[in-house]
């Protein structure tokens, strides 16, 4: 919201600079986000005098002039038809920036002749649309004086960010009130006693829906002249960011900006039956608003109608049919109070937010409605002439100030400091809150413009913000009560440390994904009702989408290999609509995704380059499981017939499905524009964390006796899985076998067709003695007979 500092000072007498006032306002909660000094635009634009003026030798329409700014004479080429010697003009010197268009003045040649400045029109100065020629001023304007001064462009405009609780500050008076409270002074409100309390009989007002319109005031004025507003009024509106239109509309806007009450003027001649009905639309219908747009009105929308038809969308925008025009001579002036929620719903539905709806939906002051009307009437009589025929004030649902008890000790209880009662009373009274002490309790009567102050805590906030947050100290040396400790991100961080230590980079990608990818991975993916980006309307059902996208980005950026992980949430609709992880009907899980592609390592002097393969992702899984001490309770199962992957293995931990490892298939890769293999692992964080043994692990004594290493190789059929053999050996439950490693796997013609050799290395050890040969031989013979017996295998000599 734009606040003119000159305007503000009409209501409050303070002697501070705009900068200081801005700081004060920010400190009371009206944040000044920007300041614009109007005069800045007119730097180097001064009053000048044309000394000489001759035709340009090389151009018919140009004149060559000499202009003085009182200090120096400048050669100036001017294109205006009305330029002549002796004129007093607006002169832009080198360095000036022309307000309309931002053109910078510097020395240049025009058709061979040097020009060092510019004589300006009103349009070029951004004052009005007059571009018929240069502006010619009165002869007695002092040459060399500031153009800004002459034009009255000396205001400072404060741009204030208004939070939704400050409906009281949506006007110049409202903003002045906060300043008055801080500077301990009072407000000067314009006197409206000159406008009589006449009851108008020319028209009727019927409020058919008092819930949505508790109060409606209408004033009738006849015999007005619609014309341009005087300059001072236009200047006020322009400073506040509104465009002047004509005196009637400008006055309604002026009053709104002054006191916060939105108003509307109807052409009385267009009000059929001279009746105003405030009612809901009743049926869906079309209506043309005064911005010439046809809008569809819902049945529940509150309208201002005459005897036959709608005239305005209540509180939002008037209609084209009853708009003030140059030929209007009689008006009905509306000043009303509408239900905030209703206006907000209408404004939202229409996608139409106006200065009026903005104020009504936050809450205007129902008891300022008649004041505003009279204020506008007084100004109209003064600026547009006419005869005031009185007003109608329908107020079926009266809204009165309310009382709040403020217990003085509560102030200290919340703020942590004691503020003297006198100080508190002063603050509240200057804010318009009446105070009465009733034995330690302040009875506060809240004016209706402070609709947000409804509880004791709200009164305390009013006190705190005017007292100043900076005057409430930070507590020194307070002792906090022990509250115990928990960390729900501890497991995340444990994995994060492990994975970064193991050479993985962490990524955080956008959770919103395309329809193509969401539905590729899930039949139950969750869609947004109102996606900002139509291309990404789904919540990711798996981290795989994010990670594949990240890989695609990096491939595109020329990164030759990547090992990444993300810890994030994934979403799905739950099959059972009545159940969900957090919100009924929805599943949300925290997952760990790990992906790798391309080079593991580039070629160096000590090693060849190597690309990632399945055993990198499998090894990552098994190492991770070892890190979590879950390696003995995890199983990997091959999943048949998964269309998205070349192969996929589910990971089970303690008999719960924890996730999977996979190599994505061609369809998936192509949909991400990838042409090289991506190896992927996704694990559920809560399954993983749930499986980890809580508490401290107990020490198990390690064997003091040496371990013995024995190698043994077998010849198998070529489709034999090594893992089955390892598992079979473990299944023997031979306590001396402590570890089995697969040493090598190879095929060779000497082994026979369709055969391969797998060699194992076994670690044998006992806890209570050194193994002797007999024991070792016995174990190895058992192993050999077990393997050759269970599989189609022969020992390789």
């Amino acid at each position: 919201m734009k606040i003119s500092y000159n305007w503000l000072k009409e209501y409050i007498s303070i002697d501070v600079s705009p900068e200081e006032a801005a700081e004060t306002l920010t400190a009371t909660g009206l944040e000044v986000e920007g300041m614009e000094r109007q005069a800045e635009k007119f730097d180097n634009i001064v009053i000048g005098k044309v000394l000489t003026c001759e035709k340009h030798p090389n151009a018919d329409k140009l004149s060559v002039c000499t202009v003085t700014d009182g200090e120096r004479e400048y050669p100036v080429i001017c294109g205006a038809p009305n330029v002549a010697a002796g004129q007093v003009v607006f002169f832009a010197r080198p360095g000036a920036v022309i307000p309309d268009g931002g053109f910078k003045i510097e020395r240049r040649k025009i058709r061979g002749i040097v020009s060092e400045g510019m004589i300006c029109s009103y349009k070029e100065l951004g004052i009005n649309d007059d571009h018929s020629g240069i502006a010619v001023l009165e002869d007695d304007v002092p040459v060399g004086s500031s153009a800004a001064e002459y034009l009255g462009q000396t205001d400072t405009v404060l741009e204030i960010g208004i939070t939704p609780n400050r409906m009281d500050a949506l006007s110049h008076v409202g903003v002045a009130r906060d300043l008055a409270a801080v500077y301990r002074t009072s407000l000067t409100i314009p006197d409206i006693s000159g406008v009589p309390d006449t009851l108008a009989t020319e028209a009727q007002v019927v409020i058919e829906d008092p819930d949505l319109c508790p109060r409606y005031c209408a004033g009738i004025i006849k015999g007005i002249t619609v014309k341009q507003s005087p300059e001072w009024l236009q200047r006020r509106l322009l400073a506040a960011g509104m465009r002047p239109l004509n005196n009637i509309v400008d006055i309604t806007n002026f009053v709104m900006l002054e006191i916060g009450q939105p108003m509307h003027a109807f052409d009385l001649a267009e009000i059929h039956g001279r009746e105003i009905h405030v009612r809901r639309a009743g049926t869906e219908q079309k209506f043309i608003t005064l911005d010439e747009k046809e809008r569809v009105i819902r049945a529940e929308t509150l309208l201002i109608c005459d005897a036959e038809r709608p005239l305005a969308i209540a509180g939002v925008m008037g209609g084209e049919n009853s708009e003030i025009s140059d030929s209007t001579t009689a008006i009905l002036l509306e000043s009303a109070y509408f239900n905030p929620s209703s206006i907000r719903r209408t404004s939202k539905y229409l996608g139409l937010s106006t200065e009026s709806s903005y104020r009504f939906e936050r809450g205007a002051d129902p008891n300022m409605v008649d004041w505003a009307l009279k204020r506008a009437v007084g100004m109209i009589l003064e600026l547009a002439g006419g005869e005031y025929l009185g007003m109608i004030d329908e107020y079926p649902v009266e809204i009165t100030p309310w009382d709040i008890d403020l217990r003085l000790w509560r102030v200290e209880r919340i703020l942590g400091i004691a503020i003297a009662e006198d100080e508190i009373r002063g603050i509240l009274e200057r804010l318009g809150i009446m105070v009465d002490n009733d034995g330690g309790i302040l009875k506060c009567t809240i004016p209706t413009f402070k609709a947000d102050v409804t509880r004791e805590i709200d009164v305390i906030e009013e006190i705190a913000r005017i007292h100043g947050y900076d005057n409430i100290p930070a507590k020194e040396g307070g002792e906090a009560r022990y509250t115990g400790f928990f960390d729900e991100t501890a497991f995340q961080n444990k994995l994060r440390r492990f994975l970064t230590g193991a050479g993985f980079d962490e990524t955080i990608a956008v959770s919103l994904v395309t329809k193509k990818h969401a539905t590729m991975f899930s039949d139950n993916a969750v869609r947004l009702l109102n996606p900002v980006n139509a291309e990404r309307p789904y919540l990711r059902p798996t981290l795989a989408i994010s990670m594949l996208e990240t890989i695609a980005t990096n491939v595109h950026n020329g990164i030759s290999g990547l090992r990444i992980f993300e810890i994030g949430h994934v979403f799905d609709h739950s099959q059972d609509k009545e159940r969900g992880t957090f919100v009924r009907g929805y599943l949300e899980f925290e997952r760990l995704g790990i992906a790798m592609y391309g080079e593991v390592a580039s070629r160096t002097w000590y090693a060849k380059e190597r690309a990632h393969d399945f055993f990198d992702i499998k090894g990552t899984l098994t190492t991770l499981l070892k890190f979590l001490h879950l390696d003995n309770v995890a199983r990997i199962h091959y999943c048949k017939g998964d269309p998205l992957t070349d192969y996929r293995f589910s990971v089970e931990i303690k008999d719960k499905t924890a996730g999977y490892i996979a190599q994505f298939g061609k369809t998936v890769l192509e949909s991400f524009d990838l042409d090289q293999p991506v190896y992927y692992l996704e694990l559920d964080m809560s399954v993983l964390e749930g499986a980890v043994e809580a508490g401290a692990r107990s020490y198990i004594p390690v064997s003091k006796y040496p371990a013995v290493l024995r190698d043994v190789a077998f010849i198998f059929n070529e489709d034999q899985l090594a893992g089955e053999v390892v598992e079979a050996i473990y299944q023997m439950n031979e306590p001396l076998i402590r570890n089995i490693r697969v040493l090598d796997v190879f095929q060779h013609q000497t082994l026979g067709k369709g055969k391969k050799s797998i060699a194992f290395s076994l670690v044998l050890q006992a806890d209570d003695h050194t193994l002797n040969d007999d024991e070792i031989t016995r174990v190895m013979e058992r192993v050999i007979s077990n393997v050759t017996g269970s599989f189609s295998a022969a020992i390789r000599g």
């Binding site: 936050r362 109102n530 900002v532």
Partner: protein
């Protein structure tokens, strides 16, 4: 048999002494130590030895094998060393064998940095879901339906009463519902806003929320906690100010500004020439929030605060565009992690 063993031992000793090349070394291994070598064949004959001698012969054979192995290793070592000495040159400028290096994402790192400060001040850490009901995201946080306060946060809807959380504040509610006061916790997490993606705003971002509830918590505690945080996180000499603001779930509400650490208050583009940077929102927990979770606002008071992680990280690390943060270009990940 025993005789043969001691003979072989002498032979081995002599053969080892005669090793003068790597070829000799290989030959030694094949002759004595290989699977079909002399020692192995002696072992093979063990089964013919009368049972009462088996034990002593076995021991001798084991000793013989160890003897041969040791000699082999010793000679092998000798050759390795002599090779190095002969080369006599170590190009230490060749790059070493590095292990792969991983990096935490800048968002995680910023969260961790902030967390560690609050953890030392006695705050626990809680988390919650990103897909939320209207009840947790708005209603219990004192956002009435049809109230302009709801415009402060452009919301992604899944259905009428289900949203993507617009802030981490719902975790406050879940926390208060599940635990008894006193509570002191911070709550990091991902949030969503239905905004057009640009250099300054994105559809997702992260927040850290803080909540402290006890019987004697006041605005002065709020200030001391946040001032301590700002001094530690942004630097000892950081100036600060609190100014009134509005959040539906706190009353009174405040914004905390710190002196711009880029221009030190002189005014620059980042602080929009004000000298101040808005770093967090805070306030005293609104009594309606306490009522929504069944706490007695007469007995308990509390403060809450929240700050945006991406904004913090962008300021701290001079990141010009929020989109870079979620693009995950490996070169950026490795720079900042």
């Amino acid at each position: 048999m025993l005789e043969e063993i001691s003979k072989t031992k002498l032979e081995i000793e002599a053969a080892a002494a005669n090793i003068s090349s790597r070829e000799d070394l290989q030959a030694f291994r094949v002759t004595y130590l290989a699977r079909k070598g002399k020692i192995a064949s002696l072992f093979a004959r063990l089964r013919d030895v009368p049972p009462e001698q088996k034990r002593s012969v076995g021991q001798e054979l084991n000793a013989l094998r160890s003897f041969a192995e040791e000699l082999f290793k010793e000679r092998e070592k000798h050759f390795e060393e002599s090779r190095k000495e002969k080369k006599g040159f170590l190009d230490y400028t060749l790059p070493g064998r590095e292990f792969p290096l991983g990096h935490t994402h800048i968002v995680s790192r910023t969260i961790a940095d902030i967390q560690s400060i609050f953890v030392r001040m006695g705050f626990s850490i809680a988390t919650g879901p990103e897909l939320e009901s209207d009840y947790y995201n708005f209603e219990t946080l004192n956002f009435p339906a049809d109230h302009p306060a709801r415009d402060m946060q452009d919301t992604f809807f899944i259905e009428k009463d289900v949203v993507l959380r617009t802030h981490t504040s719902p975790v406050q509610i879940r926390l208060m519902e599940s635990r008894k006061p006193p509570i002191r916790a911070i709550m990091p997490g991902r949030c969503y806003r239905n905004e057009v993606i640009s250099a300054r705003s994105h559809v997702q971002f992260h927040q850290i929320e803080g909540l402290c509830v006890d019987t004697r918590v006041t605005f002065t505690d709020l200030k001391s906690t946040l001032v301590a945080f700002a001094r530690e996180f942004y630097g000892e000499t950081t100036a600060y100010r609190f100014r009134p603001s509005y959040f539906p779930f706190t009353e009174p509400s405040a914004e905390m500004d710190i002196s711009c650490f880029l221009c030190h208050g002189d005014g620059c583009r980042v602080c929009k020439f004000t000298g101040w940077l808005e770093v967090l929102g805070c306030g005293m927990v609104d009594p309606n929030v306490f009522k929504a979770v069944g706490y007695d606002p007469e007995e308990l008071t509390g403060y809450a605060f929240g700050m945006g992680i991406e904004r913090t990280a962008m300021l701290r690390h001079n990141i010009p565009d929020i989109r870079l943060i979620f693009e995950n270009d490996a070169r950026m990940l490795r720079q900042l992690g």
